[in-house]
């Protein structure tokens, strides 16, 4: 019976029942603030009302966002049903586009990483990206598309203990010496066009410096230890972060 209803829904023009939940999603997600305006009447973001859209296009934009604009990707933030509903709502206020108002085949929405996450790893993720610390792991490392890729991928392989994280010997970090007398622990990024680019790791956040090759010398090793970078974390916190890194690395 349920099966039949679904089939019917897919073939008929969108039933009004589909629009009401979509209106609620739209109000909560799309109409807010400076965005698309109440009911899609336009804000800073474009008007939806009265414009011509293809349903597939709307679905794609909702899921993936539009890079270099204010339009975020809602994949993983809205459920499959919510995406369907909000697209249906937008089609109801827009002028029907090339693919018509009929329901397009359902795209497969990738759910957020739904791999079981132990509470300790969850706490570790919060600590890794803890906005209250300037020298958080994410200031120098990128994971799950957040943070800055200044240091290496910290989950391949994941460290085993807090003391690993504190005592890790520098492999890439060296000492930069500039002709003006400055000296600092640095990570070499590139040498190009007689210029040297390197991260100054003296303090967080690291500073990307560009200096002329003639003014800079870079040599390894440096009197730097990863312990300085993680000094804002207690051992117990680092253990939780490691649980998170192990979760990222997977079984």
């Amino acid at each position: 019976m349920l099966w039949l209803t679904l089939l019917l829904l897919a073939q008929a023009a969108p039933a009004p029942v589909e629009v009401a939940p979509g209106a609620a999603v739209f109000a909560r997600t799309c109409a807010v603030g400076y965005c698309h305006g109440t009911g899609g009447a336009a804000g800073r973001a474009p008007r939806i009302q009265g414009r011509t859209f293809a349903r597939d296009y709307l679905r794609k934009v909702v899921l993936e966002g539009i890079p270099s604009t204010g339009m975020p990707a809602w994949k993983g933030k809205l459920s499959d049903e919510e995406v369907d509903a909000v697209v249906a709502f937008m089609m109801s206020v827009a002028t029907p586009g090339p693919s018509g108002p009929a329901a397009a085949p359902r795209a497969i929405v990738a759910a957020p990483s739904d791999r079981e996450m132990p509470p300790e790893a969850r706490r570790g993720r919060e600590l890794f990206f803890d906005a209250g610390r300037i020298a958080r792991c994410g200031t120098c490392h990128l994971l799950e598309n957040r943070g800055m890729a200044i240091g290496p991928n910290p989950a391949s392989p994941p460290p085993k203990s807090a003391s690993d994280l504190r005592k890790a010997l520098p492999r890439e970090v060296g000492l930069a010496r500039l002709t003006n007398g400055e000296q600092f622990p640095a990570l070499l990024v590139e040498r190009k066009d007689a210029l040297v680019r390197l991260y100054d790791l003296t303090a967080a956040p690291p500073v990307l410096r560009t200096v002329s090759g003639a003014e800079a010398a870079f040599s390894k090793p440096a009197a730097w230890s990863h312990g300085q970078a993680v000094s804002d974390y207690a051992d117990a916190e680092l253990e939780a972060v490691i649980a998170y890194l192990q979760w990222v690395a997977g079984p």
Partner: protein
């Protein structure tokens, strides 16, 4: 409606010429006291009708509006565009000297839209904040990048830098956006030479800090308090004054019970350490998105019989708050917007009277709209008239509060709104001349659409600004009469400046329509949706003899 009526006028004191610019326009607000006033008077009330364009510079970065204040120093103009391109331009000929394009990740999401309000120039360096929340230092002669530092990952915090940095001594001070997102605001200072962090001030106190108790539960973690515009600096007191934005969620405060310090406040920080010297909160527990984000104009005036060091700040509600800038004591408040019903008024102690708040699930008409009783575009102060020149916006909104789940870095408005015309008249704007302390109005100039460009005042007794239809015009500072206007072909959203090279005075204005508030105009005027975008600097001077 006004709760405060003063009969006295504030008299300009002698020291008041300090905020004027001369041949150069060295800083964002003219000088660090943010007057936006120039002592140049070659162009004046009698000859302004002969003003003509001498060159135009097209930046090519045409989306997002050209919102910058150009910096003019030693015959060179430094101009930044919406996507963080920087140009050094010969101030006499308009020839490009160098350009720099910040390498922006294509995948960047910009919740508040692209835009940049200017660079800071100090000694041999040019500093700019970027859309991906970094600060860069460039070599002033060549435009080559010297250092770059990411303030906080914009993928995580959803914040950008659109305001111009403020350089104080050897530090570059920058604020960030994200006041309407689930984010905890801050102000950060970096060492100008090395880019290293010098200090950070969190605009929302953390656990254990005074003021933390003004936030219920975990709301402090996502409470907004952005620092998206540029502060002022008093070298004598060594204090940096920074305006702090609204709390998030904007329209719903049920989950953040308390005063929500230091949102909607002026904070005075020690320039060297970033330590709080005093604060004054204009709107405790804001539920209207009425930031204290805009300029703080520093004026030394005689008030009630004694010389006072004052700070004049325009809140987004349209209320102007006047404080004693030595200690944050409240002096007066008055409104540039005539249509307001979010409060009945403000009393002699600076307390709000009769709050009228958005309600959960119920639609209410509140004035002014989220676009503000004024937008960020700055006012100007002329010591010759002793008046403050600024815009007022007359518009309202139907607003419905709703409870939203905070998701770090995502928009967190707590409601929706739709702009409406005020009762009994069409929405419009006006540029007026006021006594800065009492708000007594001396003249008014009415405009059809919202005036969204800054004001420039000069010793030629001229007031310059531009409108959304592309006109750049000059008003008589004493009467408000329109003396000259020029169609630049694009709407105005930036800040005009003036400078002099080889004895010739130039007036430079950015043109280029865009920005969040500009886009809202179409809710009231459908034709505004098709206002053209662009990005150019127009420069005017008197014909050479």
């Amino acid at each position: 409606m006004k709760a405060l009526i003063f009969v006295l006028a504030a008299a300009p004191a002698l020291a008041a010429s300090d905020g004027a610019t001369g041949n150069d326009w060295p800083q964002y607000g003219g000088q660090s006291s943010a007057w936006r006033y120039s002592a140049l008077d070659q162009v004046n009330r009698t000859n302004v009708k002969k003003l003509q364009p001498v060159w135009v510079f097209q930046t090519g970065d045409n989306v997002g509006g050209l919102q910058a204040t150009p910096i003019a120093l030693d015959g060179v103009i430094y101009l930044s565009t919406a996507h963080n391109w920087v140009f050094a331009i010969d101030a006499v000929t308009g020839r490009e000297i160098w350009q720099y394009r910040y390498p922006m990740a294509e995948s960047l999401t910009i919740i508040y839209g692209p835009g940049n309000r200017g660079v800071a120039v100090a000694e041999d360096r040019v500093f700019m904040g970027t859309l991906d929340n970094s600060v860069v230092a460039l070599d002033r002669k060549t435009g080559r990048e010297l250092w770059r530092v990411n303030v906080e990952d914009s993928k995580q915090c959803g914040c950008n830098i659109t305001g111009a940095p403020l350089v104080v001594k050897n530090k570059v001070i920058v604020g960030v956006t994200a006041g309407d997102s689930a984010h905890r605001g801050y102000l950060t200072a970096f060492d100008a030479a090395t880019g290293r962090l010098a200090w950070r001030f969190w605009t929302i106190p953390g656990p254990g800090e005074p003021g933390h108790e003004t936030w219920a539960g975990d709301s402090w973690k996502y409470g907004g308090g952005s620092t998206w515009m540029t502060g002022s600096y008093d070298p004598e007191l060594n204090l940096v004054y920074w305006p702090v934005g609204n709390p998030a969620a904007d329209f719903y405060g049920g989950t953040r019970k308390g005063d929500n310090l230091y949102t909607d406040s002026i904070i005075a920080l020690d320039a060297d350490t970033g330590k709080l010297k005093w604060y004054h909160q204009q709107i405790p527990h804001d539920v209207w998105d009425f930031d204290s984000a805009y300029e703080s104009v520093l004026l030394d005036l005689d008030w009630e019989g004694r010389p006072r060091k004052l700070l004049v700040n325009v809140n987004k509600s349209g209320f102007v708050f006047v404080l004693d800038r030595t200690n944050g004591e409240f002096v007066s408040a008055w409104s540039v917007a005539r249509h307001f019903n979010w409060v009945k008024g403000i009393d002699r102690n600076g307390e709000l009277i009769g709050r009228n708040e958005p309600e959960l699930g119920k639609t209410k008409v509140l004035c002014p709209s989220i676009g503000g009783g004024r937008s960020w575009n700055h006012g100007a102060y002329s010591p010759r008239t002793g008046w403050f020149y600024t815009v007022g916006l007359e518009w309202c909104q139907e607003v419905t509060a709703q409870q939203e789940e905070p998701r770090e870095g995502d928009a967190y408005f707590g409601g929706t709104f739709k702009l409406v015309h005020p009762e009994g008249e069409e929405a419009h704007s006006h540029l007026d001349a006021y006594d800065p302390v009492t708000g007594r109005k001396h003249w008014t100039y009415r405009a059809k659409y919202m005036l969204l460009a800054s004001v420039l005042a000069t010793a030629g007794d001229l007031i310059f600004t531009g409108d959304p239809e592309g006109y750049f015009f000059a008003l008589d500072a004493k009467t408000g009469d329109k003396l000259w206007s020029f169609q630049t072909g694009n709407g105005h959203r930036g800040s005009a400046v003036t400078y002099q090279v080889n004895g010739r005075q130039y007036i430079a204005t950015p043109t280029g329509w865009g920005s969040a508030v500009a886009a809202l105009l179409s809710q009231l005027w459908p034709e505004a949706e098709n206002f053209r975008s662009g990005s150019a600097l127009f420069v005017f001077a008197l014909p050479e003899e």
